[in-house]
């Protein structure tokens, strides 16, 4: 039995958790989310380099909530998203047990301080493909960037898998689904798609923890996470607030500093 399986088994046996949300073997060599409720089933749990989806997203699911107290197998990105959810009062820190997993080490985290220490010790890692795109975007002119996003977003059919896979996209009614008034064109044409993604990026500013779940979820292969990550990074750069590091962080865009940059204002 792996260390993860042992720890998960102990949590279930002691009643500290009623369900362990983790990764299990899926089809075609992929891993998939599994919900382990009995000690006998802990053998289903695996953790390796394939485990990148952010499982924190399932905490908001009513069916999962009804299973009782959850323990969650979390990548460093998922730990950051939990911290951010705590900061946004979406998760009660006493309600969730975290099995933080990274390569082969498993760490049990049960309080905000431990989560924060773990997040601080595991800085954001950006996959090489994303890094390459970011670097090439930085070299582009505005027109080239426009053309890049136009081409990428032309494949978006608004399946919202990016939103569904994001732990921080927890609104029960997304602005893109509002129709009174209708802010974002519902249709997946160029305008509707651009407005949808710009809105998502704006709503993720200072909140996106750069876990990469949205990009991996996109069936069309669009590096869609770049937008939310860029919004979050601009908040970090301009206002010094990095998402997912502190459980008591104030919301970056609902706060301000008197000396925030304003060189662009006439």
């Amino acid at each position: 039995m792996s260390a993860l399986q042992v720890q998960a088994g102990e949590l279930l046996a002691s009643g500290k958790a009623e369900v362990v949300i983790g990764y299990g073997e899926g089809t075609r060599g992929r891993v998939r989310p599994v919900f382990v409720r009995t000690r006998a089933d802990v053998s289903l749990l695996v953790f390796d380099g394939r485990c990148t989806a952010n499982l924190t997203v399932y905490l908001a699911k009513p069916e999962v909530g009804r299973m009782g107290k959850a323990a969650i197998v979390a990548t460093p990105g998922a730990v950051r998203s939990l911290i951010q959810l705590i900061a946004e009062h979406q998760v009660d820190p006493g309600e969730v047990v975290v099995l933080a997993a990274d390569d082969d080490a498993v760490t049990l985290l049960t309080d905000p301080a431990a989560l924060e220490a773990y997040a601080a010790a595991h800085p954001v890692t950006i996959p090489p493909e994303a890094k390459a795109v970011t670097e090439s975007l930085a070299r582009m002119s505005a027109q080239e960037r426009r053309a890049f996003w136009d081409a990428e977003l032309s494949r978006c059919f608004k399946c919202y898998a990016c939103r569904s896979a994001c732990a921080l996209c927890y609104c029960t009614r997304c602005i893109t689904d509002m129709n009174q008034p209708q802010w974002v064109c519902v249709a997946p044409h160029a305008l509707g798609v651009m407005e949808w993604h710009l809105n998502r990026a704006m709503h993720m500013a200072g909140r996106c923890v750069q876990c990469g779940s949205c990009t991996s979820a996109c069936p069309a292969g669009i590096p869609i996470g770049l937008l939310a990550m860029e919004a979050s990074r601009s908040v970090e750069k301009e206002f010094g607030a990095q998402a997912g590091l502190r459980c008591d962080a104030p919301p970056a865009l609902s706060s301000f500093a008197a000396d925030d940059r304003e060189s662009f204002i006439l």
Binding site: R145, L198, F256
Partner: protein, 147 residues
């Protein structure tokens, strides 16, 4: 005459009620003449000027946008403009990242006493947007992707 010379840009100004709107009023009562290309939309506070309003204006054919409100520390509601400023920083950054021309979206602080500044801000904006020509990159999106 060529179309470039006759092009009169449509500018939508989103302003707060307490400072810039009053400032624009002062421009008028002081009989300062300024470009008539601006349609002013009055809001209670810059904090209420959602970036989606800017997008909607661009979508419906605005060539330029002007957003203006009270100077820092002058907000009628104390902090509305400070909050707005943060959002503008991110909004501008994202527009730029997605390749839109930021020169079409201008920001200003114009107080109730700055009638002359309002005229100047509007005149500068109109001049610059006129040089840029009609906005197409945003309205073009409208036509793409519909079978």
């Amino acid at each position: 005459m060529t179309t470039e010379l006759t092009f009169e840009p449509k500018i939508v100004a989103f302003v707060c009620n307490w400072c810039t709107y009053a400032g624009a009023d002062l421009t008028g009562t002081s009989r300062i003449a300024y470009a008539s290309n601006v349609r002013i939309m009055r809001f209670p506070c810059t904090g209420r000027i959602d970036y989606n309003l800017v997008l909607k204006a661009l979508e419906q054919g605005a060539d330029g946008i002007l957003i203006s409100g009270c100077h820092p520390n002058d907000c009628h509601y104390s902090t509305g403009n400070f909050h707005a400023r943060r959002r503008w920083v991110v909004f501008r950054h994202m527009m730029e990242y997605m390749g839109f021309d930021l020169r079409r979206v201008k920001f200003a602080w114009v107080s109730a006493a700055e009638g002359a500044k309002w005229a100047e801000v509007v005149n500068t904006t109109v001049r610059e947007i006129r040089e840029l020509g009609p906005a197409t990159e945003y309205t073009e999106l409208h036509r793409k992707g519909v079978a």
